[in-house]
Structures are given as structure tokens and as C-alpha cells.
């Protein structure tokens, strides 16, 4: 346990330079932007009085050398101050925090959907390798892989909302008819179906391809031959022996992909008016709310770094061959 603890601490420490790197990027952008950072971050003088601007300038230490400014910027971030969105009249951190739950709901749903369905496709494809089924699954995953997220969303709305009327076109709940308890949950689930498919399709295709390749590799190994010759039933060989081992490389990819899922979330939430961070990003772009955009970039980066960390830790648990003591 102590070695594991040490490993966790070491990996956490390794993440710090990454976070500082992201913060430096933000800082450089603020200062490379044309004009005064204050007018940039807080709008023209029409929105903020000259007095306030002067105070902000002093607070940010804009008269001091750059490295002092960077230090001040870091101190500000360390206090949880990601800046202030003048347009929304709220601190950036508050704006982001209130939008995180909806994004988490959407991303988790899409993740589960893509892993389960993609995994199933991949396994079927590998077990039935070089058959008609395999052929069609491969084609289907290539299609899913090449489909632009936002176009898929639009097409799903066209067919399943506008034509068939099965699912709502936007939002997370039915406006004006908010319900609580089970009915409310069902309402959210109903709204969640199309966004989940939209966001999950790309990853579904990736996992299907990955698991197929990984399963085929495992199925060729000697312990599988042993399992067959022991007379184990096919299901036991495929699921108890092969799939377990085939899933290992998938975890690494899944960890990386969860981070990049934020990109898909921005597009999906924009299309379905989902009240999460993605929708907030779109709003920030439209309103030219740079303070908010920078806060979002920072928060998403931190999330991605944490996800990668979590993946590494999960990996050490699932694969006992990995020793976390070595360099």
C-alpha cells in the first residue's frame, strides 16, 4: 500500500508542471492579445468604469515585469479565482461549476454507451472474424469513425425528433413541466438519448475497432489454446479468458479519449442546447467572453490531466504486471 501511495503522490507531482504549462499558455494569450488585457478581459470602458479598470490594472500588477505578473496570475488562480465574466456578471468559476453536472451526465452516458455497444461490436466482430458479420461491423465502425459529430446530431434530430417525434430536440428537461423524482429522471433520460448517441458514436467506433484487434491478438495466444483444449465452453473462453485480457489496452485509450470527449461535448451541447460546459463554451464564443473562454480552457485541461492520472491508477489495479515502484 505504501508503494501505491508513493506512486500516486509521484504521479500527482508529475502533473503539476503540466498544469503550470496550461496556465502559462493562458497567460501568454492574455498578454499577446492586441490591446490592454483589461479591456480584453473585461470589455470596453462602457461596461466597466475607468476607476474599476484602474483598480483591476493594479490588482493584476500590469505595471510590473512579466514574471511578477505571471506569479500574481498563479496566486490568483490558486485562490480559485479564474476571473470575472462581465457579460454574465458572475465569477468564471461559479459559471463553470454550475454547468459541470449536466456535462458529466452527458459524458458518462456517452461513455457507457460507447464502451458497452462498441465492446459488444468488437467482440462479435473478433469472434466471427472474416465472416459477413465481421465485414459489416467493420464497415459500420468506419462510418461511425468518419461521421462528424455535429452532423450526426443534426441528422438524428431531423429523423427522430422532427420526422418521427420520438425524442425532444433540445434541453435537458421539459420546460414548464419540471417534475421531481422518478418522473423527472425519466424526463432527463428521454432528453438524453439523442445527445448520448451523437457524442458516443465516434468513441463507439473507436472501441469496436480496438477491441476487435485486441481480441484477435489475445485469441491467438497459447493460454487460449490451452483453454480450448481443456474443453471449456466457448463463452468461457471468449469472455472469461480472452475479453478480460483484451480490455487492457482499451483502458489506456479510453482514458485519453475521455479527455477529448469535451470537444465532442461542446458540439453536442451546442446542437441540443444541453445546459453544460459545452453550451457555456459556445455562449462564451458568441459573446466574446474571453475571461470565460480562458477559464474553460483551464478547467478542461485540468480535467484531462486528472483523467489521465486516474487511467494510470486504474491500470495498475487491473494489470498486476505493472509495478509502480520502478522509475
Amino acid at each position: 500500500m505504501s508503494t501505491l501511495g508513493a506512486y500516486v503522490v509521484r504521479r500527482l507531482l508529475q502533473s503539476i508542471p503540466l498544469v503550470l504549462f496550461v496556465m502559462a499558455i493562458n497567460f501568454v494569450i492574455i498578454h499577446a492579445a492586441p490591446g490592454d488585457p483589461i479591456t480584453y478581459l473585461y470589455g470596453s470602458s462602457a461596461d466597466v468604469s475607468a476607476e474599476q479598470m484602474q483598480r483591476l490594472r493594479q490588482e493584476l500588477g500590469l505595471t510590473q515585469p512579466l514574471y511578477v505578473q505571471y506569479a500574481l496570475y498563479l496566486r490568483q488562480l490558486a485562490r480559485g479565482d479564474l476571473g470575472f465574466s462581465v457579460i454574465n456578471r458572475k465569477p468564471v468559476l461559479d459559471l463553470i461549476l454550475e454547468r459541470i453536472p449536466a456535462t458529466l451526465v452527458l459524458m458518462s452516458a456517452a461513455f457507457v454507451f460507447s464502451v458497452l455497444v462498441g465492446g459488444l461490436w468488437g467482440v462479435i466482430s473478433a469472434v466471427k472474424a472474416r465472416t459477413q458479420i465481421d465485414y459489416w461491423v467493420t464497415i459500420a465502425s468506419l462510418f461511425g469513425y468518419s461521421m462528424p459529430t455535429f452532423w450526426l446530431g443534426l441528422i438524428l434530430i431531423l429523423i427522430f425528433s422532427l420526422q418521427l417525434g420520438w425524442f425532444p430536440t433540445m434541453g435537458m428537461t421539459t420546460l414548464g413541466r419540471e417534475r421531481s423524482g422518478l418522473a423527472g429522471l425519466a424526463d432527463v433520460a428521454h432528453h438524453l438519448v439523442l445527445p448520448t448517441i451523437t457524442l458516443g458514436m465516434f468513441y463507439l467506433a473507436i472501441y469496436a475497432r480496438l477491441i476487435r484487434a485486441s481480441m484477435l491478438e489475445v485469441l491467438g495466444q497459447e493460454f487460449i489454446t490451452t483453454a480450448w483444449s481443456k474443453g471449456l465452453p466457448a463463452n468461457a473462453v471468449y469472455y472469461k479468458h480472452a475479453l478480460r485480457n483484451a480490455l487492457l489496452p482499451v483502458i489506456t485509450i479510453a482514458g485519453l479519449q475521455i479527455g477529448f470527449m469535451f470537444t465532442g461535448a461542446v458540439l453536442t451541447e451546442t446542437i441540443f442546447a444541453w445546459p453544460g460546459m459545452g453550451g457555456l463554451t459556445y455562449q462564451a464564443i458568441l459573446q466574446r467572453d474571453y475571461a470565460l473562454l480562458m477559464g474553460l480552457f483551464l478547467m478542461v485541461s485540468v480535467c484531462v490531466i486528472l483523467m489521465n492520472l486516474a487511467t494510470d491508477l486504474v491500470y495498475t489495479f487491473v494489470d498486476p504486471r505493472i509495478r509502480y515502484t520502478a522509475s
Binding site: P17, L18, F21, V22, I25, I29, A33, P34, Y40, A129, L142, F143, Y145, S146, M147, P148, T149, F150, W151, L154, I155, I157, L158, L162, A213, L216, E217, G220, G259, F260, F262, T263, V266, L267, T270, I271, T281, Y282, I285, L286, R288, Y290, L293, M294, L296, F297, V300, S301, V304, I305, N308
Partner: protein, 270 residues
């Protein structure tokens, strides 16, 4: 060549060549000026307008043809930048190894975890966009996987006899890297060019869809941005521009996969 045995790759290649021809010949192929306002807004596909018209009465087919041109220019341009940067970082890392390798790979890992799409969004909104800026931005944010690939290839090729032979007769490092190792590493690099072009086309379309593309040119993503408002009345505004992106990306992915199969027997899927 093994490429020919790959039916998907062949189909992809034909489609890519055809679409590239359409993009190059856009000025003569497009039936209308893509920016010219027409008489009838949101008219359904007809003989005059095979893909219908948009909310300003512009011919969608013409916009798709011109948009394809922008997509391909941005895609190929930024893919080339990514590949060149990837080689510039990956080659010395793999060839010289040692501390330089550690340093360059650290940097690569750092860039790899960056949510590049958000970074592009941020930079594009703060500094404004043009086609050139988009190409540069997408290009310089997507080199890390290529750098890793190139590094791995250089790591193994530097140990081969021909490299040793070149070194013994006194060929300089730069010459060995350029003349001897790089040509042998190209089979790994070429498929990524096709796959990266596909990825860059999606990125550009996504940016335009969110309203941070170049506002002065017709782009497929931008058309879909407007379609989001008008597709309730006019499905064709959403269907055709997206279909164009899908087909070009699918074709490029097919070509990339086939090239990987043909050029890198090691990576071949069983």
C-alpha cells in the same frame, strides 16, 4: 502492390481524387456564385437547385463545391504542417536519443494532453481567424502523435546496418537523417498524412460550426451552423453540407487505412 488488393482503399482513392478534382475546378463546376443571393430562400431541391437553397436563397450545391475546396485546402495544409513539425521533433529525438530525446518527448507528452480543440477555440476567438491562421493553428496543435511515430521509427532505423555503413564512411548526422533514415521512415509517415487530413477537415468544420471559422469564405461547417436554425423548415440545409464532410473524411480514412496496410506489414490487422 498490396494497395490494389484493398477494395475499400481503392474506392476511397477514387472518391478522394474525384472530390479533389471538384474542389480544384470549383469555379467552373459550381452552377452559381456561392455568395450570390437568390430569389427564393429555402427552396427544396429542384432541377435548378439540386441541393436546394439556403436561408438567403444561395444555391447549396455551389456552396458545397466551394466549401469542399476550403475543407481540402485547410485539411491538406495543416496535415503537412503537422507532419513536418512531427518529423522535426521526432527525428532528432529518435536519432540522438539521450537527454535531447527525454526533453523532446516530455514536450510531446505535454502537448498530447492539451485539449487542443479548446486551445484553438480560444486563440481563434481572441486573435480572429483567416484560412491561413486556421491552417497554422490546426497544424501546430496536432503533431505530437506523428512525432512519437517518427521517433520510434528513427530509434529502430538508426541501429540498422545501412546507417552504420553511412556513419563509418563519415557521413554527417544531418545527411544520415535526411538521406538515409527519413526515406525509410516515410512508409510510416505517409498514411498519417491522409488520416491527419481527415482529422483536420473535421476540426475545421467543427470550428466553423461554432462560428470561429473564417467568416469570409464559404465553409461546410459554417453552412451547418446556419442549418441548425433553419433545418426545421428545410432539411436539405443540414443534409448536404454534412454529407460532403462525411464522404470526404470517410474516403481519406479508407485511403489512410489501406496505405497503412500496404506500407506497414507490421501494423497489419489480422
Amino acid at each position: 502492390m498490396r494497395y490494389q488488393r484493398h477494395r475499400g482503399g481503392l474506392i476511397g482513392l477514387v472518391v478522394v481524387v474525384a472530390l479533389a478534382a471538384v474542389a480544384i475546378l470549383a469555379p467552373t463546376i459550381a452552377p452559381y456564385d456561392p455568395l450570390a443571393l437568390g430569389d427564393v430562400a429555402l427552396s427544396a431541391p429542384s432541377r435548378d437547385h439540386p441541393m436546394g437553397t439556403d436561408h438567403l436563397g444561395r444555391d447549396i450545391l455551389s456552396s458545397v463545391v466551394w466549401g469542399l475546396r476550403v475543407s481540402l485546402v485547410v485539411g491538406v495544409g495543416s496535415a503537412l504542417i503537422s507532419v513536418v513539425v512531427g518529423i522535426l521533433i521526432g527525428a532528432p529525438a529518435g536519432y540522438f536519443r539521450s537527454r535531447l530525446d527525454g526533453l523532446l518527448m516530455r514536450a510531446t507528452d505535454a502537448f498530447m494532453v492539451l485539449p487542443t480543440f479548446f486551445l484553438i477555440l480560444l486563440v481563434a476567438s481572441v486573435f480572429g481567424t483567416s484560412i491561413g491562421k486556421l491552417i497554422a493553428l490546426i497544424g501546430i496543435t496536432n503533431w505530437p502523435p506523428i512525432a512519437r511515430l517518427v521517433r520510434a521509427e528513427f530509434l529502430s532505423l538508426r541501429e540498422r546496418e545501412f546507417t552504420l555503413a553511412a556513419r563509418t564512411i563519415g557521413v554527417g548526422h544531418l545527411m544520415i537523417m535526411l538521406r538515409h533514415i527519413l526515406p525509410n521512415a516515410l512508409p510510416v509517415v505517409i498514411p498519417t498524412l491522409s488520416l491527419r487530413t481527415a482529422g483536420a477537415i473535421i476540426t475545421e468544420a467543427s470550428l466553423s460550426f461554432l462560428g470561429v471559422g473564417d467568416p469570409n469564405v464559404v465553409s461546410l461547417g459554417q453552412m451547418l451552423m446556419y442549418a441548425l436554425q433553419f433545418m426545421r423548415m428545410a432539411w436539405w440545409t443540414a443534409a448536404f453540407p454534412g454529407l460532403a464532410i462525411f464522404v470526404v473524411v470517410l474516403a481519406l480514412n479508407l485511403v489512410g487505412d489501406a496505405l497503412n496496410d500496404a506500407l506497414n506489414p507490421r501494423f497489419r490487422k489480422t
